[in-house]
Amino acid sequence: MINGMTHEEAREALGALALDALDASERAAVLAHVADCSSCRDELMAMRETAAKLAYVVSPVPMADEQRDRVRARLLARASLERSAPPVQTPTTPMFAQVTPASPVRILEPSHVPRNTPHRSTPSVPPLVLRPTVVPHDAAIIAMHRMEARSRWMAAAAVVVAVGSVWALMNTREERDDMKVQLQLATVEARADGKVMDSLRAGLTARDRMIANLTGPEVAVVTLAANSPRSPSARMFWDQSVGAWTFVAHNLPQPRNGRTYQLWLVTTGGKVSAGLFSPNGSGDAVVKATYPLARDALAAVAVTDEPTEGSPQPTTTPVLVGTTRAR
């Protein structure tokens, strides 16, 4: 007898264990026995194989097209984000907290934007109303980049946060879930002070918002493609419910000296700049912006190579371009 359960008792329960049908205490006792009994381990494996085959009694039920495409788009978006992102972050790490030299943050502030730029002269294009997507912890870090980040080229821009390091993407569901667990633990154990709790809540809110912007039911996905030796690729996630845009690019070559990439929303009313960005050392880049736009007003999303200060209108052939068919 091991751990309070005889070999025979444990063995008789292996089928139920394989079905995950044991109560918690019994399950623990059987597992404790199995840990020390190789024959029961083998038997449990066989039982689990048997249980797994019960799934075959159902016949396939394809999801509705819209639902299927929605889940697919979310999965690919999450995978794309994770592929770009470094390993697991600690849940309390604030968004955008690490910005490497290869991934400059550029913030365009309204007070530095000319009011009579060509974009402003296009009345049918609404002004960009962009929100910073940083949590309070990041203010100091972001501020370090502001001096180098100001630009005067873009019409009606309020704030654009362009983050080359995809570390800033951080909004995976795992992180969100981890934070929820941490928050619950902190609450239950009553050992977190208000500051920690506030930090967790702020991070959680930011991540939930990011996930919603990428995966919400009203998110349109535009895939951008290009022809070049490195085959850069990108996707734009447009959360139409709140006008949030998240652009994720891979394999972008570094722009030449004095040049940068500029992201464009090609609308029925004109081309609207959505930000300047440079990829990190791996060629990955992310640009986030908020810009209300009618659902049928977007014709394409494009990326062009422009001077460092940006251009009021595209001046080169797009490096990447995608039209708005995918939904």
């Binding site: 079905l19 799934a55 999801m63």
Partner: protein, 234 residues
């Protein structure tokens, strides 16, 4: 007619459906590649098998996950739908199933079973988590609900099941049909209902020891009958 909340038995509409699907066997690939991602020019290609897709996923190829999803989401959806029956929750669990597959693709071992079985095991596990977190086990009795009807209606018009899956299903259904009804019920309530033996005892009014015996005997018989489906992975 398939009794709600029970495994469908041979001779039912489901069984006739399977027979119809199996004769004649399809001559083309059982795994049509529906994603253009791996065939951007629209040319004819043989889709990578599941194990290859998992290796590609482990290497960071999200398009491979797209193909795996296209191929198996109907089965994953069916299992999750059978367990949860709430479409919002089902969609979420289907997504989490493939997301877990993406995260754990590198850990898949072909000698431990086929990818499809691995996926469905993940799906059931995630659905169980959701089911238990929703605390719906005691609140929403399975008897008489419409879950099986949803599955069955969809299956009638569904062309997605390939010959191999159909064959597997037939074998499992036949094995289940050989079990006494009360043993089959215990399995059903445990596998799809997510109930523990104690909960099954409560639900059916049978002594706990009786439920344990039924479940144990059912699993032993199934194990023997399903040896023929011994998996070697692909």
């Amino acid at each position: 007619m398939v009794h709600p909340g029970r495994f469908p038995l041979p001779g039912t509409a489901a069984e006739r459906y399977i027979d119809a699907r199996m004769n004649p066997l399809p001559s083309d690939s059982p795994y049509p590649l529906s994603s253009a991602a791996l065939s951007p020019r629209g040319d004819e290609r043989v889709a990578p098998d599941d194990a290859t897709l998992l290796r590609m996923m482990a290497g960071g190829d999200e398009q491979a996950m797209g193909v795996l999803y296209d191929r198996w989401h109907p089965m994953v959806n069916a299992v999750v739908l059978r367990m949860l029956r709430q479409r919002d929750a089902v969609e979420d669990v289907v997504e989490e199933t493939f997301w877990q597959a993406w995260r754990q693709a590198g850990r898949y071992e072909a000698n431990r079973g086929q990818v499809q079985t691995w996926l469905l095991t993940i799906a059931r596990s995630r659905a169980l988590d959701r089911m238990r977190s929703m605390k719906r086990l005691r609140e929403e009795p399975m008897e008489g609900d419409s879950g099986e009807v949803i599955v069955q209606q969809a299956a009638e018009g569904d062309p997605a099941m390939d010959a191999e899956s159909s064959e597997r299903r037939k074998i499992v259904l036949e094995a289940l049909a050989e079990l006494p009804g009360e043993q089959r019920e215990a399995l059903e309530l445990g596998y799809f209902g997510g109930l523990s033996q104690s909960e099954i005892s409560e639900r059916t009014g049978q002594p706990l020891g009786t439920i344990k015996t039924r479940m144990r005997l059912a699993m032993l018989k199934l194990r023997g009958r399903l040896q023929v489906l011994r998996e070697d992975g692909r």
